[in-house]
């Protein structure tokens, strides 16, 4: 039942890390989202629109609860990717035990899939963003994640296959070169920012931290569960090579 165990530990560690992320966000990120929404509402009111405040407040409670569902879904999804990569990469990852290996991979994935992408297309709170450009922005964002992710994947394969000593310098430089090129070539986020930059910067820093904590928790959970349930399964990854 080892493959089913793999799916089980992957999804459960993802869902738990995602729910913890939602709890963290409730205290850390939500105040900034609320401020941004207040600015939006102010703008709507001064434009003469009717805003039903008590309805809005109820709606925000519903959305804050929804963030827990969102966290569970988000966690399960990223954990799924994490689990697949871990199975293939485990033998090559540094670390004395699976917890350390998983933590290492989680750190890399946060860097490659979140931080590098955020440098080009940083997170924005509500009140930033034109609904008409949503599909264009989604395409850019997903495209950039794919570039960063595939570049890192390619570099990892080269890392494993090459025996030269200087790879510790050359391979990160190659990744950096790809990312600098992508940064220059990819078009910018088309939306204008009309609210205070302070609020936006606060939001960006806080989300980078909570998403980083999420990856850390995912790594610890996954590594511990692997040690507990799959530690004897040394061949799980080896069979694939």
């Amino acid at each position: 039942m080892k493959a089913l165990t793999l799916v089980g530990i992957t999804l459960s560690s993802g869902v738990i890390a995602g729910i913890i992320l939602a709890f963290l966000n409730l205290g850390i990120v939500e105040p900034t989202i609320d401020k941004a929404i207040a600015l939006e509402v102010q703008k709507q009111v001064s434009a003469g629109e009717n805003v039903n405040m008590s309805e809005l407040i109820d709606y925000r409670y519903w959305q804050k609860a929804g963030a827990f569902a969102g966290g569970a879904i988000y966690g399960a999804g990223l954990a799924a990717l994490f689990g697949v990569i871990f199975v293939f990469a485990r033998n090559k990852l540094p670390g004395k035990n699976n917890k350390q290996k998983a933590m290492f991979l989680a750190g890399i994935m946060w860097f490659v899939l979140f931080l590098m992408v955020a440098l080009k297309y940083p997170a924005n709170p509500p009140a930033v963003g034109d609904p008409d450009t949503i599909y264009y922005r989604e395409t850019l964002y997903i495209g950039y994640i794919m570039i960063s992710g595939l570049a890192a994947l390619g570099m990892s394969v080269i890392w494993i296959k090459t025996r030269i000593n200087s790879k510790k310098i050359i391979i990160p430089l190659m990744y950096a070169a790809i990312m600098v090129t992508a940064y220059v070539i990819m078009p910018p986020n088309p939306d204008k920012i009309e609210i205070s930059m302070d609020l936006i910067q606060t939001f960006r820093v806080l989300t980078a931290i909570t998403i980083g904590v999420f990856w850390g928790i995912l790594g610890i959970m996954f590594g511990s569960l692997w040690d507990k349930f799959l530690s004897k399964e040394q061949t799980l990854a080896a069979k694939l090579y």
Binding site: K2, V7, I33, G66, A67, L81, V117, P126, I142, T235
Partner: protein, 89 residues
């Protein structure tokens, strides 16, 4: 040989095994590493669509055009979508 490599590399079970464990073999069919990996990749794509992309597409399958106005999934996962860095507003 461990159980996993049995699943991956052993050809079909013999007739006796088959008759005793029809139910078990169904479980085994799903308990192979390639199936697990395929399943996890499907989970990745579907969940990222829900949290990061959906503007009503999923529910429009049953609700039709009105789902694009309600955007229930977008609204439900809204705060996490922002907090995870996805484009949203």
């Amino acid at each position: 040989m461990d159980k996993l490599s049995y699943n991956l590399y052993t050809p079909k079970p013999t007739h006796t095994e088959m008759s005793i464990t029809t139910k078990q073999s169904t479980v085994k069919a799903f308990d192979s590493l390639p199936v697990a990996i395929g399943f996890l990749i499907a989970v990745l794509v579907f969940t990222m669509f829900l949290v990061g992309y959906d503007q009503g597409q999923l529910f429009s399958v049953v609700e039709g055009q009105s789902a694009y106005d309600t955007m229930w999934i977008h609204e439900l996962t809204h705060d996490m979508r922002h907090a995870a860095g996805f484009p949203c507003h």
